[in-house]
């Protein structure tokens, strides 16, 4: 297992180096002029030049790259111009917010989609199957910002059940002491149940929005892979041997059908991080996606580079986790590594 992790991490190094170079080049090729943007509405050519010198943007590209890499080696991702903060601090403060939301959405989607997919496969052609098809098609065809706005309109504006879409906590609550950065966990650690409830209430609607989006691939993949497993010989043998339906479906069929579902899960997680950008905008969620988009709009290089790098690392870790999960689910995958 350790060897597997080691070799996986070793293959990730070249791709991370590639990411560093490519993001640096890409941000420089963007047509915007950072200095002109930040010189303000009443800038003269001299004041733009002054700002350019201050930001080190007047140096030749190779020199800028050396500056960037040597700072990066010291763990310094630079400072964002649009928020004025060091990028590393911003990302570490915002990543938990995005992660909490994404994971909540994913767990919710799993909890609904997997049983739904299994039922649809077992009772193929029944009303459950049709409902599954309908809901997943709707979920994947509605853009997330639309679902988000719709849910806000219904649950906050019309019914008043959900709290105001004002980010992670209501204005009159203070954040729990940071341990993990996940408000739900931190508030439980602090035994502050009121804050827990408030954080959960804020999280509910955006998490549902994400879950609706993530339902489709998980449910469809569960259904398809269950179907192929259910028609395989060992299931027929199990049924012939007189095992109960539950044992056949859950113990034998589902375990074997899980591999493609786990693979999909990895992909869905990365989709969700993308969808997050829009959901964060709608719910004023102080996450990493909205941060990166704003930075991109203002040609603010450092956060864009930091964001892409953080995401690259996240994907490497995610893929590693999925590989390990493979090994646990299917011993054959372990020996192949």
């Amino acid at each position: 297992m350790l060897k597997l992790i080691g070799s996986r991490l070793a293959t990730a190094v070249p791709s991370l180096i590639g990411v560093v170079i490519v993001t640096f080049m890409l941000t420089r090729v963007l047509p915007g002029d950072t200095a002109a943007y930040f010189a303000g509405p009443a800038a003269t050519a001299e004041s733009i030049a002054e700002i350019r010198t201050k930001l080190g943007l007047d140096k030749p590209l190779p020199a800028q790259f050396v500056d960037y890499v040597s700072a990066l080696a010291k763990g310094d991702l630079g400072s964002s111009l649009s928020t004025g903060q060091p990028v590393a601090a911003e990302i570490s403060a915002r990543l938990p917010a995005s992660a909490e939301l994404t994971l909540a959405g994913l767990v919710l989607a799993l909890a609904i989609a997997v049983p739904f997919g299994i039922m649809a496969a077992v009772k193929q052609g029944s009303w459950v199957d049709h409902a599954c098809r309908l809901i997943t098609t709707a979920g994947v065809s509605l853009p997330v910002f639309f679902t988000g706005l719709l849910l806000v309109y219904v649950f906050y504006f019309k019914l008043g059940w959900a709290p105001a879409p004002l980010g992670r906590l209501d204005v009159f609550f203070s954040a729990p002491e940071t341990v993990t950065g996940f408000y739900l966990i931190d508030s439980l650690i602090a035994r502050d149940f009121e804050t827990f409830r408030a954080a959960l209430a804020q999280l509910a609607v955006p998490a549902i929005t994400l879950a609706i989006f993530a339902l489709a691939p998980i449910a469809r993949m569960t259904r398809a892979s269950m179907l192929s497993v259910l028609s395989s010989e060992f299931v027929r043998t199990a049924r012939a041997a007189g095992l109960t339906d539950t044992t056949v479906i859950i113990t034998y069929a589902f375990r074997n059908a899980m591999l493609p579902v786990v693979t999909t899960l990895g992909m869905v997680f990365s989709f969700l991080l993308g969808a997050n950008v829009l959901v964060e905008k709608v719910f004023a969620w102080p996450g990493i996606g909205s941060y990166a988009v704003e930075a991109l709009i203002t040609s603010d290089y450092a956060p864009v580079q930091g964001f892409v790098l953080a995401m690259a690392i996240l994907y490497v870790v995610l893929n590693l986790l999925i590989d390990i999960a493979y090994g646990i689910i299917d011993p054959r995958a372990r020996s192949e590594a």
């Binding site: 915007g32 004025g84 906050y156 879409p165």
Partner: protein, 540 residues
């Protein structure tokens, strides 16, 4: 004060007064009390720097600076069309208790009891250090100071602990008003110098994150991109103690949600909603909606007069007659703007800016002018706008494109992202575009100096060059400084007439600053910087 303390203090009050209400009611009354002293503002974007002297401080950052720092002087309030409006011509002391204007200098006596938020007294040394900083850090603050002929540290002289003199390098009517804008704020020099480094002698890194002023509010919490929390400074000496104890400014990127928050009564104020939302909210009547035209600001259609075809006056006039002015007012702005077109043919030129042109939509005339200019079969060009303000710019440009097509001008619309817009403007190559300019200092010659003068500042987006125009502008500035009213009036009229005759840019309208507030919020004040002043707000 956090929520728990609120609950505690409120339960204590309940016990003392013996009202004996049930626990949940106590909790909600505590929240109600907290809400009554707290103002919740929602807007699209927040500050990137709390100090206006910082590198690249954005416009929301100006609002933070305005409310947390004091200036030597500020404007009196007056009323204009039912809205409290700053009085351009009447100044009063903020940190200064007395202002004595001499021939070539102005002397300020500081309020003796004024202190910074950390308790240290405000002295003349702090004032000089702050003004020195404004003219030395470069970039926007230094540029703004220059606009009032405040250029060198030697101009700021400490007379004694509580007296400062500002020497003039030349006579300029804008020097005194320029001391009342946001930039010349007074900073706690001792505190900032303690936190300055060799690389950063002016302590810009410290003031980026921390407020070090004597203003009515201080920032107690700032999460960039998410929220800013202001608490009242109870020892403020700059004016009457504000009623609002705490201001929470939350960034809500989605306009639809900002509107929902307002309509549900969860947010108190929002000021950057789309025009359509403002109109609908106004009609619904549940909220107070205030719309005030930008002072000294105009949205216009600009043309590059250096290159063909717009180097030809007749082509420019043709465009001016082809613009669907009223359609733009109705469909792009929903009526929320002040028209700057269609003045009656016999109207006299005013000594004022902005003022409407005499242009109206007349396609036949436009076609004829185009033919006279030598383009009977029309021409092709691109029409550019800033995507950062697409909500208004896009429908505006589409409407214009339609009308231009009718007189044979084929246009391709060029959408330029916000980050690139200024770069493109600086290059001065866009043939046809729409843009807004507005100046903090509300004087016609100030506007014309930046937008029409041959020294070709970045805002002379048309590259317009005219010796006659330069003469008018320079003469207007000189006569304003000398107080020669007759000459001044003649020159302002001269420059306005010439600008409308040569039409390098076609004024469309004066945009509105739209603010939506709950009915129980009063005290909104319009300032030249167009941001919110928290100090006068009241709730209840």
């Amino acid at each position: 004060m956090n929520r728990r303390e609120f609950v505690k203090s409120a339960s204590a009050t309940a016990v003392v007064t013996g009202t004996g209400v049930a626990a949940p009611a106590v909790f909600s009354s505590a929240q109600a009390q907290a809400r009554n002293e707290t103002l919740l503002i929602v807007s699209e974007s927040g500050p990137n720097n709390l100090d206006i002297h910082g590198v690249g401080t954005n416009v929301p950052g100006y609002e933070a600076s305005w409310n947390t720092y004091d200036r030597l002087i500020t404007h009196e309030m007056t009323e204009k069309d039912g809205v409290r409006y700053y009085d351009r011509d009447k100044l009063k002391g903020e940190l200064a208790e007395d202002m004595n204007i001499g021939d070539m200098s102005v002397t300020f006596k500081l309020k003796k009891n004024a202190t910074f938020q950390d308790g240290t007294p405000v002295t003349a040394k702090d004032v000089k250090w702050s003004l020195d900083r404004a003219v030395s850090v470069g970039g926007f603050p230094t540029f703004q100071m220059k606009a009032g002929s405040l250029e060198k540290p030697e101009q700021f002289v400490v007379v004694d602990d509580h007296t400062v003199r500002v020497d003039f390098i030349r006579k300029d009517r804008l020097t005194i008003p320029d001391l009342a804008v946001i930039v010349p704020c007074v900073i706690n020099s001792g505190l900032v110098q303690k936190n300055a480094t060799e690389k950063d002698p002016w302590g810009l890194e410290y003031t980026k994150q921390n407020t070090a002023g004597s203003g009515a509010y201080r920032v107690t919490k700032w999460t960039p991109g998410t929220e800013v929390v202001f608490e009242r400074f109870d020892d403020w000496k700059g004016g009457p103690l504000p009623k609002i104890k705490r201001v929470i400014w939350r960034m809500v990127p989605s306009a639809g949600n900002r509107r929902a928050l307002l309509e549900r009564g969860d947010a108190d104020i929002s000021y950057d909603l789309p025009n359509k939302d403002f109109v609908e909210l106004k009609q619904a009547g549940k909220l107070n909606i205030t719309s005030v035209p930008y002072s000294n600001g105009v949205q216009y259609i600009g043309m590059n007069v250096k290159n063909p075809p717009f180097d030809n006056l007749k082509v420019r006039q043709a465009i001016a007659y082809a613009i669907p002015y009223q359609k733009i007012m109705d469909a792009a702005l929903f009526g929320l703007a002040k028209p700057m077109f269609g003045a009656p043919a016999d109207a006299q030129t005013q000594v004022a800016w902005p003022q409407p042109t005499k242009f109206v939509t007349d396609l036949a005339k436009a076609k004829q002018l185009l033919a006279e200019a030598g383009y009977p079969n029309g021409l092709e060009t691109t029409l550019s706008f800033d995507l950062g303000f697409a909500g208004v710019n896009e429908p505006l440009c589409v409407l214009l494109q339609e009308n231009l097509a009718q007189i044979g001008i084929k246009t391709t619309i060029n959408k330029i992202p916000g980050a690139n817009w200024r770069t493109e403007l600086t290059k001065k190559v866009l043939p046809l575009f729409t843009n807004v300019f507005s100046g903090w200092l509300d004087y016609p010659e100030y506007f014309f100096f930046w937008c029409y003068h041959g020294n070709n500042s970045i805002f002379n987006t048309m590259s317009y060059q005219s010796a006659a125009m330069d003469a008018f502008i320079d003469a207007a500035r000189a006569s304003a400084a000398n107080g020669d009213k007759a000459a001044y009036d003649a020159n302002v009229k001269g420059m306005v007439d010439l600008a409308f005759a040569d039409v390098p840019r076609i004024p469309l309208y004066q945009p509105y600053v739209n603010v939506a507030m709950q009915k129980n919020i009063t005290g909104y004040e319009y300032w030249f910087h167009r941001r919110l002043d928290y100090r006068a707000f009241q709730k209840g």
